[in-house]
Symmetry: C2
Subunit: 249 residues, 2 copies
């Protein structure tokens, strides 16, 4: 168990081999066992094999090759549609068209997704999360025909790895743990926490390629810019509104 | 691995036994190995042992006994404070004071939390998620001294189980999986998906105790009411604003 967790790598190259139905079923069952809010299970997993639909998803995911390569694409959604329909058919009046309910569904969906990812890895499969599921949630909603009260919060591709990447670097544990309460960071703390990362050869090469002076600038100016963040913030909030999750009064 | 996942139960009664530091460290290391966005690791885990602070947390968690019983309380937070400080000290201008960045941090934090939960269970520990981390995020922010750009998204208690509950029921897998695209639910689908749950003796007893006609009414009228959802929606959005995550223009 711990070994599977500690060995995780995001796989970006896949074999064409399909996943046997009983293995896929076991992996999905693992998702369902995750903790969830009040045992309402307010999430949905859309499992897509179809090549044509995956080609549409590939476009929504900024044409990342792995989406075409991997035989399975799973979209994890906050889903209060099923639960609300159940309420309506049982003479109960659902009140889940608000932001808290979205966040509840998102939490349920994300915990389930991590169970699915780990169960897959334990079966020799590889996975990769796609941040684009949030950036282009509107396109996923269209492609996957998601009704109101259903919003994508994460997506993974899954398949047998063609290539296993190196274990990714991480900040030292002390960098992300706080003891008892939050201990805010001094400049010295930041220097220490990022020392190892900033010393890595791969990142030094990146500076040259990107013509930047610091690794942080690659994040702020290239990868996760304020402009993009603001754009996708407004877009995702609009999607929450459109899917019926922003009636907060 | 799969066995640990399939065996999960939320533990609500704990022994006083403390958790050995090396076991706790391994469990936290497991959290750090989870997938995260762009390897930015924009989350924080606040690990609280101190009885006085846990007593304050217990009050914030609507005085659920397990918060006092379990020796460890971990608060998982979206955290762009550390990353933004790093940017500032490296001549880079961070643009992470927006909703997308909050949701990115929340996703990172939740995936890490599920790794921690599973690693703990693999070590014979028990855990329980506390939804109150979101409802009363403002109190957690105060107690744990969380600065701007840090917001609690989940909390768990952890310790050695005093009592192992039965495996919780779940909807049949077909109830939460959609094949290829979303297949919306007919009344007949809903009847089938909820049949087993609605037949369970424990739920039938609940109807009597709560003087309700349907199980759904217990959720809409008692456990997750519209009034509460709307209240906590507005409160959490206000907290996001106050912590500096709502500059979306």
């Amino acid at each position: 168990m711990i070994r599977t967790i500690l060995d995780h790598r995001s796989v970006r190259k896949y074999k064409a081999d399909f996943i046997a139905p009983d293995i896929l079923k076991l992996v999905l069952e693992a998702g369902v066992r995750a903790s969830n809010t009040g045992n309402m299970q307010v999430y949905t997993m859309v499992v897509t094999h179809n090549k044509e639909i995956r080609t549409q998803l590939w476009e929504a995911h900024f044409k990342q090759n792995m989406v075409l390569q991997a035989p399975v694409h799973i979209t994890f959604c906050a889903d209060f549609n099923r639960f609300s329909k159940w309420c309506q058919y049982r003479d109960a009046i659902p009140g889940y068209d608000n932001f808290l309910s979205f966040f509840t569904g998102a939490t349920d969906a994300l915990l389930a997704s991590q169970n699915v990812a780990l169960a897959a890895e334990a079966q020799g499969l590889g996975i990769c999360y796609l941040g684009t599921a949030v950036y282009n949630a509107d396109k996923l909603i269209e492609i996957l025909k998601l009704p109101k009260l259903v919003v994508p919060v994460a997506a993974i591709v899954m398949g047998y790895p063609e290539e296993m990447p190196e274990l990714a670097d991480r900040l030292p544990l002390e960098g992300v743990i706080h003891s008892e309460v939050y201990n805010d960071y001094s400049r010295n703390d930041i220097d220490k926490i990022y020392f190892e990362k900033e010393s890595m050869l791969i990142y030094k090469d990146l500076l040259q390629i990107n013509e930047k002076e610091t690794l942080a600038q690659i994040f702020t100016d290239k990868r996760y810019t304020k402009k993009d963040n603001v754009f996708f913030s407004a877009k995702y909030l609009e999607i929450l509104e459109k899917q019926g999750f922003m009636n907060n009064l």
